[in-house]
Amino acid sequence: MNQEIFARLAKRLEADQLTALVSVVGGPGLGNQRLVQPGSQSHGTLGSPSLDREADLLATEAFRSFSSSRRIISALEPDVAATDLFCEVHPPAFKLVLVGAVHVAIHLARFAKELGFRTTVIDPRTAFATAERFSHVDELVTRWPQEDLEDRKLDEGTYVATLAHDPKIDLPALEAALRSTARYIGALGSKKTHAKRVDTLRERGFSKDDIARIHAPIGLDLGGRRAEEIALAVMAQIVSVSHGK
């Protein structure tokens, strides 16, 4: 990888921007690379304009699927070996937004961090949302979810869990999440609590399909009751959703 490609790739990874790197891993031009970024110009050449076009095409597919791929491009001229391309996608870091600075959130943020998520905890109650309890999170926000979440980009890489157990905090967060393209929405609370929540959301104009996006009761059924165990069940569900299950 040459100096320029590396510098650009490192800069984009640090800025958390979706990027693809296409490498020639076999055939003529072995080791050549092209850095592709959505919506802007590519850098580096694989050796010919037609290969560069293939690279940009592969990258565009990767931007949709978030998965890396391998393709053999047969040579146009006889007696020239085919080119073996590897397109590697570098998606933005997964983000986990936890609403409610409760005990479960402390453990959940810890698991999420271990798994490479960028973590945010939101709770207007400054007695709960303290720097001492949440020194391990990337961002601690002591505002109401409705003040924060409307401005926050809840995208396909974002996972949201509402844990406050207080509809004044959880409901506005769920509404913001339902209006976004967040990859995962989970809500802590019993079936009874959730049924009440569903009624309120219906009254506020959300459709059945919208509401079906919410995982509730939250988490995979691991059978545990302790805060750590609930956090693990939620994390397990998030990981399974991240793999399309």
Binding site: M1, Q3, A10, K11, G26, L30, G31, F86, H90
Partner: protein, 113 residues
Amino acid sequence: MRDILPEINLWRRQDKQIALATVVKVWGSAPRPIGSKMAVTTDGGMVGSVSGGCVEGAVYEEAQGVLSSGQAKLVEFGVTDETAWSVGLSCGGKIEIFIEPLAIGPSSTEVPT
């Protein structure tokens, strides 16, 4: 890549020669997915992983060859491969690893815009 970047940046500041190994294909029950990375230096530095421990030693050796030749290389490890068998890719999977020299060229660390 993001996880091994701090180490790589540190090595670059120390003017170390670095090779980057990436899993580009897996068959069967390979222990690490496509895109898994490991970086090594000529003086024993190693960060990241491509197989969960089975072939890292062999990749380190291959990477030294890549650093002395300056030429990227595609290497396959699997149960049918004698080297891999001896280093123990016993899970029955097969992996293909692309090994390349990293950030060769002018040593300027300025990031292009």
